[in-house]
Amino acid sequence: MKRSWYATPYALWMLLFAVVPLLFVCWYAFTTPEGAFTLSNFQEFVKPRYLGVIVRSLKLAVYCTVLCLLIGYPTAYFLAGRDFNHAQSLVVLILLPMWMNLLLRTYAMMTLLDDNGVLNAALTALGLGKITVIGTEGAVVLGLVYNYLPFMVLPIYTVLKKMDYSVIEAAEDLGCNPIRVITRVVIPMSVPGIVSGITMVFMPAVTSFAISTLLSNGKIRLAGDLIDYIFNQSSNPTRWNIGSSFSLIMLVLILISIGFLRKVDPDNEGGGMW
């Protein structure tokens, strides 16, 4: 038996449980419940309700990505610093929450931000008034950032760590001040990491499910919640078809951003995750 045959179970399994299911999504997305070809499932999304959800998801995911970048870049930059002693353990500490269950992290966030939660208890103790956070878009964005920040730090850190230090020294020797070194040398050279980080935060944020509902008492729902509603609650007879077309739209959005990533970063230099 040739050794290449050992890959057969792998190929079969991935075909059956990764490729074929996606074909089902495509098939349902383009058919009526009776099985006839149609594009009408996609017309649904011109309705303000669906457009609204997509726009809201995109908006909050963009906020989340920008915040992650603003927090994540300096963090990765500091961690990659040569004279930073505890960098190694800090990297592990920052990445650790990434392995924690999404619900668990969201649950922790709820506890912190709740009206009767720890944050408000602390504010009251300090003599400041209570603030309502849960239920606002701010809470949702905060929850998303909390969940996805490590995905931004990791690729940028990887790229910065690999950077050729002599280039920076050359810039300094040629009379660049530190700010200019950062803006003209460090940042341009870390673009692959940034792009990778943006994709890795934006993708899960825009398709996130449950986080938003939990942090807003059900008031702010995102694309993932809509998909959940369509499949698990709606009594519309075409719900599988509409749900599939919506899932397909999300998938295409993601594939476009991956294509974009590949274009900016063809060698997958910033790809810490895959």
Binding site: T8, W99, M100, L103, Y107, G117, T158
Partner: protein, 262 residues
């Protein structure tokens, strides 16, 4: 990086401290509250283990714990076998074919979880397979395999390519050569892959949510449905235990590879 002044260094320390606070305050608070005698989230009324006792007396949670472990163990074993064999097989193929097959592995890693979950659910329901434990296990195997594959592949590349041929020349049958020569060489990779797969399986919520039923809830599903009932201290206890389990597993993985390489 750019040379740092004293002020810059102080700024860096403060930045990191605030970041750590942001990342860990919620988790630490949750762990602390799991030992709080009062249900209240804003008052500490004394230390108790009651919530843990309650946790272990709740049949629903125990059942979910059993399901979670069962699913993770079965999925890990099967995906480790399939993934390892797949890596070995692909290692001996032409690069063109290997590329195609590896790209298939990127699919579950790049597809959003919710789409993966929905797609599997559609397939199961179309084939009239009732959702339950096994539908969840099959889905877990599918998303676990790539982790095994990507842990084993580098080890195979590091291996001396002549070892296998040498074993055959010395009279080993192919299966013997596989078992006696290749497997021992790549064991660390297999272990890392298996541990990663196990962690991923324990951790998963979205895909399990769509591919299983209320009848066989795993722990994440229990956490999810109890969020609808409001925040409960038993859930803090459960979260604490889940966090510590993941922590231990990661320490194990980390001892094999550097976490940052994963």
């Amino acid at each position: 990086m750019v040379k740092n002044t004293r002020a810059a260094k102080t700024f860096r320390t403060v930045w990191m401290a605030v970041l750590m606070l942001f990342l860990y305050a919620p988790i630490l608070i949750m762990i602390a509250l799991s030992f709080n005698a009062s249900v209240s989230r804003s008052q500490w009324t004394g230390f108790t283990l009651d919530w843990y006792v309650k946790l272990f007396n709740d049949p629903a949670i125990l059942g979910a714990l059993k399901t979670t472990i069962e699913v993770a163990v079965i999925a890990t074993i099967i995906s480790t076998v399939i993934g390892t064999l797949g890596a070995i097989g692909m290692h001996s193929m032409g690069s063109g074919m290997t590329n195609v097959l590896i790209n298939v592995s990127y699919l579950p890693m790049t597809t959003p979880d919710i789409v993966t979950g929905v797609s599997l659910m559609l397939m199961y329901l179309f084939c009239h397979v009732p959702l339950g434990k096994w539908t969840m296990i099959f889905a877990h195997i599918a998303f676990d395999i790539p982790y095994v594959l990507f842990s084993v592949m580098p080890k195979l590349r590091q291996m001396n390519p002549n070892l296998y041929e040498a074993a055959l020349d010395l009279g080993c049958k192919p299966l013997q050569a596989l078992w006696k020569v290749i497997i021992p060489e790549i064991t660390p990779g297999i272990f890392t892959g298996a541990l990663l797969a196990f962690t991923m399986s324990l951790d998963d919520f979205v895909i399990s949510y769509f591919t299983s039923s209320d009848m066989y809830p795993n722990l994440s599903r229990i956490v999810y449905s109890s969020t609808k009932l409001g925040v409960k201290p038993t859930m803090y206890a459960l979260s604490t235990l889940m966090f510590i389990t993941i922590l231990i597993l990661l320490v194990l993985v980390n001892r094999r590879t550097k976490l940052e390489n994963l």
